[in-house]
Symmetry: C2
Subunit: 222 residues, 2 copies
Amino acid sequence: MARVPESQRVRDALENAIVDGRYRPGERLDPSQLEQQFGCSRTPIREALQALERSGLVSIRPKQGTYVTELSLAELADRFEVMAELEGMAARLCARRIDRGQLEELHHALQECQLYEQKGDSDGYYYANAWFHGVIYDACGNEYLRQQAHSLRRVLQPYRRLQLRVPDRMRRSLAEHRVIAEAIETGETEAAENAGRDHVLVQVKEFSQLVRTWREVTAGNR
Amino acid sequence: MARVPESQRVRDALENAIVDGRYRPGERLDPSQLEQQFGCSRTPIREALQALERSGLVSIRPKQGTYVTELSLAELADRFEVMAELEGMAARLCARRIDRGQLEELHHALQECQLYEQKGDSDGYYYANAWFHGVIYDACGNEYLRQQAHSLRRVLQPYRRLQLRVPDRMRRSLAEHRVIAEAIETGETEAAENAGRDHVLVQVKEFSQLVRTWREVTAGNR
DNA sequence: TCCTCGATCAATGCATCCAATCAGTACTGT
DNA sequence: ACAGTACTGATTGGATGCATTGATCGAGGA
């Protein structure tokens, strides 16, 4: 039987809530409210929050409480830059190491992406997209890279949500996926790396653009 | 005044002890002994150990105690592979973004490396080497990358110790540093990336070689 | 109006206690 | 000799009490 410590349950629940956007960046996590919500004492809550802080999802500001991490544009850009590198690296390794079955799974994931893109279903696309990238991480043959990539991806997830609003993003994302899959299949390491990296970098650009626009728009409101 | 929580003191002390090799991989960290040593109760010890586990320096095996992480060769290889990528990335960004003062510091660090190499002082070289790489991380203009690189470097540190035994390692390391610094100075991003990456990769190769040799040697002893 | 001082209270760190659990081991019967 | 079992002690997760700290905010003064 899976012995699941309370602290881990809390950790997972909060992590999912943050990644899924049920808690927004900057939102306060009230310890006593969490105690009630999870029906436990401070100890497991505390441990969960500490764990989340280490993974970067929440920030504990001493004597002021714990908040869902709110990344500045610069901090976000730094993380995306590293994410791009990990993504490129994974694709490159993948192109060299992927096996038959995994390649097949990659194609399935790609088809799934295509399916939701055609339907214009961005939620569905989100999951297909996560699957596609997950296959690449799995097949890169580097377990540590897989973990790191997943972890960083989760941290960035709350901010990716905004990107869905970028017009035409899904269609272009799909096209990029095709390029990546193609390069992996044909074993072109260099091409795979560049495609994987650019796939992330392009999002940074669009994201910064989005933020800039949003700022210009909201600037007039104050 | 910076009030330093006990748990953090314990954490730092243990982390340094592990990184410096005063605790060896696989060694047990006895909680009750640590309580005595640091003169505090279980709570801060526990938190410190949990933090160290998250950063990968120790492994908590449920009901069996906490041990300094002992990485298998495969796990080690994965980490070095990622480290190489981060190192290459940092060097590439550095070549693009380093400023006058930082470039000067890089040269100082390089000279320091040269100094200790000539003296054949591997401990001194270790610190000069850390400085050299630290400058690159600082100057890469990506704070997140800086943190990640430092953190991964610490995890790998206990294993690097072995490398000092590789004959001629210091001399070649220095030569590699020169190539990296040169590429950064002249702004050749591509060259810097490759030099940075290879500088780590070469160590993996030598390390695996070392382990293999060591295994062959010790295999006869049992 | 703005600044300073002090009171208040939430947040925090730590110690300690309790209970559940599991690894390892000694023991038992076949 | 061996398989299965019961026991024991170490380890751990969790709860709670207590003292300390520092953020916050209002009163009083410049």
